[in-house]
């Protein structure tokens, strides 16, 4: 990679102890396991997977909001777990977060301006007398009028609140933003507004964005690189075009096939539908966690967790039968007259 990494996660794992049975045999439940991920400045990485796959926990660990059980996160070359006090705070300025629920992410009792200005005050981004001007600039940057400053969050719609949340994140002039399902609570017609805003900001401010979502269409549209997670592990990672165009892992293919499309295949049959449900993280199958639902599983899959191996340069998959195959979408396009 030509550029040095801005943020670098290495072998991240997060476990939660859980007791089972009367005598309390302690057991570790891994929400995230053995995840390594590098991001360079200005890069957008999409993390996709179904609920319970660990994508939100990964995002919180990358932000330093949750400490990894094992592994490390390095930001600009420094391990964030080892930092405390003022140094930790200095780093906090450079990483910000945008949340899913536009109604829970803003304090209902404080004005929008005050909440955006928080970051400016805490990190003394601008001198005290310029705070009002800077807040105005931020609000206008996300496409709202400066009159919004004195109003409370409940006076805004979901999409506007999400813009305010973005303005608050931008206040500290971060280099890295974790966006955890930032549009999934919004209406379709509003989603596009917020996505376009994020695309513009990323380009203008050279932001690195970790975009967590279950919406494959949006991720494909927004991100340079895609990480697909299943039961706490990365199963496939690579450039968006490759991962979604010719997915190498059967789970990625299944996910793409399951995602409803405006142009459904005429030969809609049951065989593209994955059977079963996500196994319990407290009792995952041996070997590959996906094997029990996998259409191409074989006995060897039960032996060991398949390592994440290169399919091509910068494109990796964790499957012993990994290989690029046309995505279901592509076959469909060809199948159409």
């Amino acid at each position: 990679m030509p550029e040095t990494s801005l943020i670098e996660a290495h072998g991240l794992g997060r476990n939660y102890p859980m007791r089972q049975g009367l005598l309390g045999r302690q057991k570790d439940v891994w929400a995230v396991r053995d995840v390594s991920l590098n991001m360079v400045r200005g890069e957008s990485v999409g993390v996709v997977g179904e609920s319970g796959c660990g994508k939100s926990t990964l995002g919180r660990m990358m932000m330093g909001l949750e400490d990894p059980s094992i592994g490390s996160v390095r930001f600009d070359g420094r391990d964030i777990a080892g930092l405390r006090g003022a140094e930790r705070r200095r780093l906090a300025r450079r990483m910000q977060m945008v949340f899913q629920d536009p109604f829970g992410s803003l304090d209902p009792r404080r004005s929008v301006g005050a909440q955006i200005a928080d970051g400016l005050r805490i990190h003394k981004i601008v001198p005290a007398r310029e705070i009002a001007d800077e807040t105005t600039r931020l609000i206008e940057q996300v496409g709202l009028s400066s009159a919004a400053m004195t109003r409370r969050p409940h006076e805004f719609s979901g999409g506007q609140r999400q813009r305010i949340a973005v303005a608050r994140a931008l206040a500290t002039r971060p280099d890295f933003i974790v966006a955890d399902e930032p549009i999934s609570a919004l209406d379709v017609s509003i989603q596009a507004q917020v996505v376009n805003l994020l695309i513009d900001l990323r380009r203008d401010l050279d932001l690195a964005i970790l975009f967590i979502s279950h919406d494959l269409h949006i991720v494909r549209h927004f991100c340079d690189r895609i990480v697909v997670m299943y039961l706490g592990r990365i199963v496939e990672e690579g450039p968006a075009e490759q991962v979604f165009g010719t997915p190498a892992h059967p789970y990625t293919r299944a996910l793409l096939a399951a995602t409803p499309s405006l142009h459904p295949r005429p030969d809609a049959t049951g065989d593209r539908i994955l059977s079963g449900e996500l196994p319990s993280p407290s009792n995952p199958p041996s070997g590959c966690a996906f094997r029990k639902r996998c259409p191409i599983a074989e006995p060897a899959c039960a032996k060991a967790v398949p390592p994440l191996e290169a399919v091509e340069g910068g494109w990796r998959a964790a499957c012993i039968k990994a290989g690029p195959r046309p995505a279901p979408d592509e076959t469909k396009e060809k199948g159409r007259p």
Partner: protein
């Protein structure tokens, strides 16, 4: 000022009045509370003694007002002291959790293991009677209650994203607690304070009554009642006045607390209850006025024409759905698609008579053709009438299966209920049919799942169980309200497949599929009805509508789904208008890039580009 806030005025004024009289006792022109007048003992009301004289000839009114001072001072003093200590403990415990929680909240809660009056007695045993020991005892007593209330409120607030955002910002914990958490836990705290004042007065007066509280000759209501008991037969009024004063004051504070609670609780049930549960109405037969013989078209199942739904509240009416028309034929799947606020869900609820109490159908024609060929006017049905056709004729699947299944009943029982309600199967037949239904909806191991509780199933399995309940009596029309929205993609695909297989098994069943997801519509629907801001804007066969939308809203929605791979998504500017601020003319005009002046004046008429299609855009020809 909201209604709930206006309702606060009365109790707040009352409480202020009581407090004012008691606080102002020293400056009021009252006789000395201790000056005795033994010859005039038990004298009735007079010009100088408005409420008469007690067993020592002392003025009753003066003693009443001064007696309140002790009660109020002790009650308010301990309520506030406990509030401060309890809030600090609760905030720290709730925010930091772990060890801090143990030494603050959990430690304070040990006190709750002692019955309250007992604890007060214990403190009085050690410290003796008197005002200050009482305040101390009550403070100890109420601190854990506050700690618990603030603790649980803090737990709730701290998990909210705006607190996480402050943490991510690098704010100091104490700053977060003071500026963000504390203001947000204030509502339950305020309620608790007024509740504790009332409760503290109860305990104080009780202890004083027993002679363990306020020490004579300081007047106190409890002591006055105690003294009056001795002379109850001679002067019953002496018992009545302090009793009234005490109960009235406590009632005032309880009243204040109740109103505070409704004013501060955003979910407050203002006009609650359940109209459908109240008596009256017919005995379950479909009224004759609602029946008609001939069906208009052979295979029509449901025909909604110009239906409006409004929220009625204190004389004002707010129209949420305006002149909606939907048609469902036998065996057809119609998707009702729209964003939040489009009115698609209430349209669905209206068809089964399940509208919330505040809403009602205010106009239009809703005709449903029943199994026996008769036509029923759904708009004319009452609860009992709807009951007859629910499940067997029209059935419904809801979005949130976890909430829509009763958590304390087994899955099998919930399915069996639906079967029994219509008297189809009896006894062991029911069990067999339940298992058969669960198998039909694809639940693995249906015999065992029938005995499971909803929380023991996964989200997808719960939705399958919900569907089993809905199709138990082979409905002619199934309404599914966002049945896959809360599910993951692979599970959503499974449930959509289940709907397809159900349709294959019962080819005559009509299906209304309510969703916001255009891609889901494309997967499942024969026809699509697009709703925007309470109106139908476009309607027609799904593939035709998707290929050539005739309404700019439909076109914009389709373009905002990022499947094309264009560099930039087509965003619709602005937001959906609120029901109380609907624009004149076409409701989409303010956000529409094709809008002209004509769009902003009159409501656009319905046009029929082809016999099968409808659009409510005046410019559909130009933009096609």
């Amino acid at each position: 000022m909201t209604r709930a806030q206006r309702k606060l005025i009365l109790p707040a004024t009352l409480a202020a009045l009581v407090v004012a009289v008691i606080v102002l006792a020293p400056v009021l022109p009252l006789p000395d509370v201790r000056s005795m007048d033994v010859p005039n003992r038990f004298a009735g009301p007079s010009a100088t003694h408005w409420l008469g004289q007690d067993e020592f000839g002392r003025d009753v009114l003066a003693r009443l007002i001064w007696g309140g001072r002790a009660s109020l001072f002790i009650a308010v003093g301990s309520a506030l002291a406990a509030a401060v200590i309890g809030t600090v403990l609760g905030l720290l415990g709730g925010y930091f959790r772990g060890l801090v929680e143990f030494v603050t909240v959990r430690a304070a809660e040990v006190i709750l293991c002692l019955p309250p009056l007992l604890l007060a007695l214990l403190v009085v045993t050690i410290l003796g009677a008197g005002t200050w020991p009482l305040i101390l005892a009550l403070t100890i007593l109420y601190t854990p209650i506050y700690a618990r209330v603030v603790y649980s409120a803090t737990l709730q607030v701290r998990s909210l994203d705006y607190v996480t955002a402050q943490k991510a910002m690098g704010a100091y914990p104490l700053r977060i607690l003071a500026t963000t958490v504390l203001p947000n836990v204030m509502p339950p705290l305020l309620v608790q304070i007024s509740l504790v004042v009332a409760s503290a007065m109860l305990i104080e007066s009780g202890l004083s009554f027993l002679g363990l509280g306020v020490v004579p000759p300081t007047p106190s209501w409890g002591l006055m009642i105690q003294a009056a008991r001795g002379s109850m037969e001679v002067a019953p009024m002496l018992l009545l006045w302090p009793s009234l004063a005490l109960a009235g004051t406590i009632l005032t504070f309880n009243f204040l607390c109740d109103r505070l609670q409704t004013a501060l609780d955003p979910r407050g049930i203002t006009a609650g209850g359940a109209l459908w549960l109240r008596g009256g109405g017919s005995r379950g037969a479909v009224p004759r006025s609602a029946r008609r013989a001939a069906a208009p078209k052979q295979d029509t199942l449901l025909e909604v024409e110009g239906m409006s739904i409004a929220a009625q509240n204190a004389g004002t009416s707010l129209e949420l759905v305006r002149r909606v028309s939907v048609t469902v034929r036998r065996g057809e799947t119609v998707a009702l698609v729209g964003e939040s606020g489009s009115g698609k869900s209430i349209t669905g609820l209206a068809l089964t008579g399940l509208l919330p109490d505040a809403l009602s159908i205010t106009g239009g024609d809703v005709r449903f053709v029943a199994r026996d060929g008769e036509e029923i006017d759904l708009g004319a049905l009452d609860e009992a009438g709807f009951r007859r056709i629910r499940s067997g004729e029209i059935s419904m699947v809801f979005q949130d299966a976890a909430a829509s299944l009763n958590p304390v009943l087994r899955i099998g029982e919930q399915v069996a209920e639906a079967l029994r309600a219509h008297g189809g199967a009896r006894g062991r037949d029911v069990d067999a049919r339940v298992v058969e239904l669960l198998r039909q909806v694809g639940l693995p191991d249906p015999e065992r799942r029938a005995r499971a509780y909803p929380h023991e199933l996964s989200g997808g399995q719960r939705q399958r169980a919900m569907i089993a309940v809905a199709v138990a009596n082979n409905p002619r029309l199934l309404i599914a309200d966002e049945p896959t929205t809360a599910l993951d993609p692979t599970i959503q695909a499974q449930i959509l497949e289940l709907f397809r297989s159900l349709k294959k098994a019962t080819p005559d069943m009509g299906l209304i599929f309510i969703t916001h997801d255009l891609a889901v519509v494309a997967e499942i629907a024969d026809r699509v009805t697009v709703m925007y801001a309470g109106e139908v804007v476009e309607d027609g066969p799904a593939d035709e509508v998707f290929a050539h939308p005739h309404h700019p809203y439909t076109a914009a929605l389709l373009a905002s789904v990022p499947e094309g791979g264009t560099d930039r998504l087509v965003a619709i500017p602005g937001t959906v208008p609120l029901p109380d601020a609907m624009p004149e003319g076409c409701r989409f005009a303010p956000r529409c890039s094709h809008a002209r002046d004509v769009c902003r004046t009159g409501s656009p008429p319905t046009s029929h580009p082809t016999p099968e299609r409808r659009t409510r855009c005046v410019r559909w020809k130009e933009i096609a």
